[in-house]
C-alpha cells in the first residue's frame, strides 16, 4: 500500500521541485525589493499627490507639491547645479578611467588581476572613512598643507582645498573612479584586438583607431560607467555635507530640509522628480548603448 503511494507521489514531487525552484530562488530578492523599494516608493508616490499638512493627511488628490517644486526657480536651479556637478564628476571619472582601463588590458593576465584587486581595494574600507581621510589630507592643518608649509613653498595654508565645490568634485571622483574603471575594463577586455590590428593595417593613425574603432565599440562601457557614477552622484548627500562649503547645497540636502520643514509632500515630490529624471536617462541610455552588451547578456 505504502509502496504504491510512494510511486504515485514521486513524479508529482519532482515536478513541483522543478517548477518552484526558480520561484524560490527569486523570492528573497523579490521580497527585499518589495519591502525596501517598491513599498516605500508607493508610499512616497502617494504622499506626493495627497494634501499633507504637517502630520495630517487628507485623501484629497493634488499636484501642489509638484507645482511648488517645479515652480520654484531656486530649487530648480539647485537641481540644475546638482546635475551639472554630477556630470562634471562623471566626465572626470571617464577621462581618468578610460586610459587606465586601456592600460590595464595591455598588462599580462596575472598583473591585470593584481591591479583589479588594487582598484577595488578602497571598497574594503568604509565610505565614510575614505571621505574623512580626504579631509585629513586637504584640511588647513592637513598633510598637504603641512607638507607645503614645511617645504617652504607657501607661508599660509591653502584654504581652497577643502569645504567648497572643488573638494566635493575631487573626493567624489576618487570615490566613484573604481566603478567607472571596472565597467570600462569589462568592455575593453572583450574587444577583439584583431579589429584594431585591421584598422592599423589599413593605415589608420592611433587617434583614428581610437575614435572610429575602440570608442564606438566600447560605448556600452562608457554609458555603464556614466550610469554607475552619475546616478549616485545626483543623490549624493554625505560627501557634499562633509567636504562641501556653506554654499554646497545639493538637491538631496533640499529634500532633507523639506522633511525638516514638515513638508512631506514636497519632499516626496522632489524625490520622485529626481527618480523620474534618472529613469528617463537610464531608458535613453539603455536604448542608445545596448547596455546588456557590457556584461555579455
Amino acid at each position: 500500500m505504502s509502496a504504491t503511494l510512494d510511486i504515485s507521489l514521486k513524479p508529482r514531487a519532482e515536478r513541483r521541485f522543478h517548477v518552484s525552484w526558480p520561484v524560490l530562488a527569486f523570492l528573497p530578492i523579490t521580497l527585499l525589493d518589495l519591502v525596501l523599494f517598491t513599498l516605500p516608493m508607493l508610499v512616497m508616490g502617494t504622499a506626493s499627490v495627497l494634501v499633507i499638512r504637517e502630520f495630517h493627511v487628507s485623501m484629497e488628490l493634488t499636484a501642489r507639491s509638484y507645482l511648488f517644486f517645479l515652480g520654484s526657480p531656486l530649487y530648480l536651479t539647485i537641481l540644475g547645479k546638482t546635475v551639472l556637478l554630477a556630470l562634471g564628476v562623471t566626465a572626470a571619472c571617464l577621462v581618468l578611467a578610460y586610459p587606465f582601463a586601456i592600460f590595464l588590458t595591455k598588462l599580462p593576465r596575472g598583473i591585470q588581476r593584481t591591479m583589479l584587486v588594487l582598484v577595488i581595494l578602497p571598497f574594503w574600507t568604509s565610505y565614510l572613512l575614505r571621505v574623512y581621510a580626504w579631509m585629513t589630507l586637504l584640511g588647513e592643518s592637513g598633510l598637504i598643507n603641512r607638507g607645503l608649509v614645511g617645504l617652504g613653498l607657501i607661508d599660509e595654508p591653502l584654504r581652497f582645498l577643502l569645504y567648497n565645490n572643488f573638494s566635493v568634485v575631487l573626493v567624489s571622483v576618487y570615490l566613484y573612479l573604481p566603478y567607472a574603471a571596472l565597467a570600462l575594463y569589462t568592455t575593453l577586455e572583450r574587444l577583439d584586438p584583431s579589429l584594431i590590428r585591421a584598422a592599423r593595417d589599413l593605415g589608420a593613425k592611433p587617434w583614428q583607431v581610437f575614435w572610429h574603432v575602440t570608442l564606438p565599440l566600447t560605448l556600452p562601457g562608457v554609458f555603464a560607467s556614466f550610469i554607475f557614477v552619475f546616478i549616485p552622484m545626483v543623490g549624493e548627500y554625505v560627501t557634499p555635507t562633509l567636504v562641501g562649503g556653506s554654499r554646497g547645497l545639493m538637491i538631496v540636502n533640499i529634500v532633507v530640509s523639506q522633511v525638516q520643514a514638515l513638508r512631506f509632500g514636497v519632499a516626496s515630490a522632489m524625490a520622485f522628480v529626481i527618480v523620474a529624471l534618472i529613469l528617463c536617462l537610464v531608458v535613453v541610455l539603455r536604448r542608445a548603448a545596448r547596455l546588456e552588451r557590457v556584461f555579455g547578456v
Partner: protein, 368 residues
Amino acid sequence: MTISRFTRRDFLRRSAIAGVGGAALTGTSLLTRPAKAALEGPVNALTWGGRVMQDQQDDFFKESGVRVNFIGASGNSENLAKIKLGGGSQYDIVGVDALWVPKFYEEGVIEAFDMEKWPEYNDMFDQFKNLSIWKVGNQYLAQPWAWSPLVLWYNADKIKTPPTSIKFLWDPELKGRIALTRQQEDVIAWMGIATGAKKPYDMTKDELAAAKDALKRLMPNVLKFPPQEEELVKLAADGSIWVTALSAGGALRIKDAGGPTMKGFLPPEGYIGYFDGDCIVKGAAHKAAALAWMQHRVHAKYVMENFLKYRRPLAYKGPLEALKSQGKSDYAHELFYDQPEILSKMAIIGPPPDIGAYVDAFNEVAGN
C-alpha cells in the same frame, strides 16, 4: 581510544541532574532578582544622547528588574513621525525639545503625568516648575532635563579684542572662519537677533526678509553649516574656524579635542538656547516602569554624574551644593549651572509657526 556507551538511563540521570542544577540556578537568580519585580519592562526610550548612562541603567535594573532600551533620537520632527507610526506599543518615552512639547501634545502622541509628588521634584529649578507651556492643569507634559544657552565661542588667540556685539560676526577679518550647525531655523533666528527681530522664532515677513539679508551678508564669513555639533568642535579644534555657536561646555569640548582656548560670548542683543525633557508616550505599554525610570534618573548622584560628563546645566539644583563642597563652584558657574535666570533671557529653540518660510529663507541664501 575508549568510547563510553551512553545509555537511555544515563541520559535520564544526567537530565535529572541538569534539571536540578538548572532549578537551583533559577532559584539563585530569583533570589538575586530585584526587589521591585512588579514593574513590567523594558522601557523603550527614544531620546537624545547624554540621557541614559550605563551605571544608571544597571542600578535601575538591580532595583526594578527593568531594562531601559535607549534609541537615539535624531530630530524633533523625526521623533514625532516615529511616535505617530510606532505609538505606545513601541515607545514609552520620547525626548522632546522645549517648544516641540506642546506640539507633541496637540498631535496626541504624549500624555500628561503627575510629577509634584516625586521625591526630586523640589530639587527642580523654579523656572521649570512654573513652565506653563509644559503644564496641563497640575500635571506636566515633560520631565525637564538639560538646558543651555548657545554661546558664541571665539578663538581667543585669533580674536584679540573681545566682542561686544553680535555684529562682530560680520567682521571681514572672519572670512571663512565661522561655522554654525545646519539647523535652518536656528541660523535664521540668530540673524533675526542680529537684525532686531522681537521673536526670533516667530518673525514677521519683514523681519524674516531682514534676517535673510543678514545671512546673505554673512555668507563670506561662513565656512560651512555642518549637520552635527561634533563637526563644529573638530573644525574649531583644528583651527579651520574661529567662531561657532555651541552649548555651555563648548570651549571644554574644543580643548579636549586638542583645540585652542575659546572664550564665550553671550551677545547683548540676545541669544538662542534650549531646554529639553522626556515625555511619556500616549498609551505607553510600560508606562509604570517608564515613570519609575524617570524618577530614578534624577537622583542627585546621577544628575551630578551627567553634568560632569556632558558639561551642560541640568534642571535640578541638587548637585550644585555637592559641586560647591568639592570646590567646583567656578566650574558650575562657567557652565551656567548656577544661573537659571538665563533661561528667561534666551530665545528658546523651537519650531517656528511657519517653519517652511525659515527653511526657504535659508535655502535661498545657501543654495545660491
